[in-house]
Symmetry: C2
Amino acid sequence: MNKTITGSYTDLYQLTMGQVYFLRGDKDVSATFDYFFRKLPFSGGFAVFAGLETVMEILEDFRFDAQDLSFLKDQGFHPDFLDYLKDFKFSGSVYSALEGEVVFPTEPILRVEASIIEAQIVETMILNLLNFQTLVATKAARMKIEAKDRKLVDFGLRRAQATGGHYASRAAVIGGFEGTSNVRAGRDFGIPVSGTMAHSFIQSYGDELEAFRDFASFHPDNTVLLVDTYDTLKSGVPNAIKVGLEMKARGQSLNGIRLDSGDLAYLSKRARRMLDEAGLHEVEISVSNQLDEHLIKSLLEQGAPIDVFGVGTRLVTGNPDAALDGVYKLSYFKGAPSLKISETIAKVTLPHRKQVLRTYDEQGHFAGADVVCLVDEQDPKMMYHPFDPLKSRSIERVTKEPLLQPVMEDGKRVLPAKSLEEIKKYSKERLELLPGEYKRFFNPHLYKVGLSEDLKNERDRLLKEHKKL
Amino acid sequence: MNKTITGSYTDLYQLTMGQVYFLRGDKDVSATFDYFFRKLPFSGGFAVFAGLETVMEILEDFRFDAQDLSFLKDQGFHPDFLDYLKDFKFSGSVYSALEGEVVFPTEPILRVEASIIEAQIVETMILNLLNFQTLVATKAARMKIEAKDRKLVDFGLRRAQATGGHYASRAAVIGGFEGTSNVRAGRDFGIPVSGTMAHSFIQSYGDELEAFRDFASFHPDNTVLLVDTYDTLKSGVPNAIKVGLEMKARGQSLNGIRLDSGDLAYLSKRARRMLDEAGLHEVEISVSNQLDEHLIKSLLEQGAPIDVFGVGTRLVTGNPDAALDGVYKLSYFKGAPSLKISETIAKVTLPHRKQVLRTYDEQGHFAGADVVCLVDEQDPKMMYHPFDPLKSRSIERVTKEPLLQPVMEDGKRVLPAKSLEEIKKYSKERLELLPGEYKRFFNPHLYKVGLSEDLKNERDRLLKEHKKL
């Protein structure tokens, strides 16, 4: 899938700006950009950072192909700049939170240090892939928090935003999903694939029992029967029980039944009782149909005996937000700190090459405060509210750990690639360190992101300098 | 981009069902499926059908590659079925509304007639691409209705749902957009690309005037100056005017300025006056920043003198809906009509191979009613409400035109490929035939979709038969 992302996977202005930098002789001038977002998705209390591995893979291989160059030539780009693009290769460095990390608004999550032209050209791709995967991983994690040890499976490809669905399936796993119906994502990312039958299959037989029997005979190891085509409790479940008992008599086992319509709480309870009464305790109940974290929570609060949730549209589109507002801002240029002015202090960007420190409480849990500091700062003592000068606190005796780690140096990966399972495991561990009040859906606690004294002073100094101009 | 969509771009159940059909000897049994949606996006009164050309291109070339087959082998698929997939090629027929057509809920928009296995395997891809492009084309058309002759440009790639953004840029053009910042989409679909500078460019100079001058000197034919980095009216616009006058003195022309923050109505009016007072009447005003159809409407109602709207996130994600609920339902199988039962009559699907007739009023406008009928029905006389038996009307003397046309027959395209510009033009013409009451945002008029007498009788007959079982 990734090979389709070539140099032209960018916004035109990255190239028009690049041409100016190039022609004025600034092609090797270095710049630092921060990736961060301003607003947590889903009115939640946290986000799960995802997409890093995808970005790294693409970044190592990001080239302008012949079609790209010919198109840009037709757009009137300068021959010397086109020559430069012909040999384009990202040779910068990337520092990043690990994929799966729990992250918060305004803190740098990923830092790119490269020539200004390189850093700009890759901006669009980085934003495009991190914004979306972080959105979906966060959505998935919210569902997993409710589903606990029940299985979550992604069924979303048909309603996904075109090929974006490929990356949605990947990000869902990072947030805690166990599988996907999306075969291509299974193939490319090693995600377990699942899925057995649609309503059309049963319709094609006319007779539900015959359809169930036929399916079970051809897929004895992987049979989940869809029981709501005609009448769930009067026809679907009784027929599934018949087939389940027949399979049992043959030494096989019916994996499950799936409910895809109606009152899933009521139907799952009734179906469970019917299955249990027939001795089919091992047959799992899957449900699907417009699920999200709120519906999963509600179903489980009602005691619905559901084993597997199949989640589609609302997962893969990150409904209702549909986008994370991540940005990529210049913070250091030509050896000097840089910031973007705004009329509101909250939107003034943070200058300098920066690090983020996570603080821990005595039990080793996240302490509710991250500190953004200068990259070479030794153990900052105080943490300041980013724009309320009256708010500060000592962080002297608090355990701190840097979030941003070298991922790529001079265009070469220095952090070994991780499997999706490893990333998922890491995310799970990190989410377990996040106290419950940040995970609740209703009015979650606000995780603080403050500034070190040195960073705050630097920002304020640059703001004052700017005002003098 | 399309080559990445191979046979594995499907839901696993299409293949598990396919294996059953194959092993039971039904691989050549033919089936008909309808693509339709149930709910108009954006609480609007119409949708613009998009994605057909993409689907046709992919369908002609839809194959399982070596990696797909090896993955499916590992999933335990039967060797004979894998052999079948190795030679898989879509050899069915497709009948469809033309791309860009104005369409309504419940009516078939596209009909697939193929062997049951082929029809199922391509389902996911068809839904994935049509649902999303129709969503975005509809969103774009809503913006175009308000923007009228002002230019709309897509800036959304960075916030798009990963590679889905590629198709968003395409669909936006069908709905009426003029250009995109997305270089790859420009290259692949022939969309005019635009974009000049970001805030980082001005930041990198420190001095705004110098940044503007430098950009204009390197891009004299394509300069749009971003004026809100420091202070729009005190710094940005005055500096842009200086550069605009300098360009004029050199016989060049400043294309425009762009406002990306603040009160766009107020700022655009002030900026227009300042530009005009400097004699720079030809300099266009572009605006961007979280725009959608409602903001565009509001800005223009306030008399904002805006020439170009740059629209990002809310366009490319189809915000706030993020998905169209399109489905693909079996309607004919083994030479007999098929329908899916549901407890609510509104969700019972329509059996048989069908056609849709659009009715016209005496002025040649859409008459507010489409009729779904049997494919070989000659000029139906009556139209019935789909589930209220008391509602019907005569359509005997009304001009009618079939919407579904042969697009592909026996795996070969019979409708010549159309350029994106042709599709856009067609959509514009069709939208002009739709009366205004269906286009308004607030409480739009409900476009009726009824059934012919023969279709209604067939559905009711099959429903009765089913109840007897």
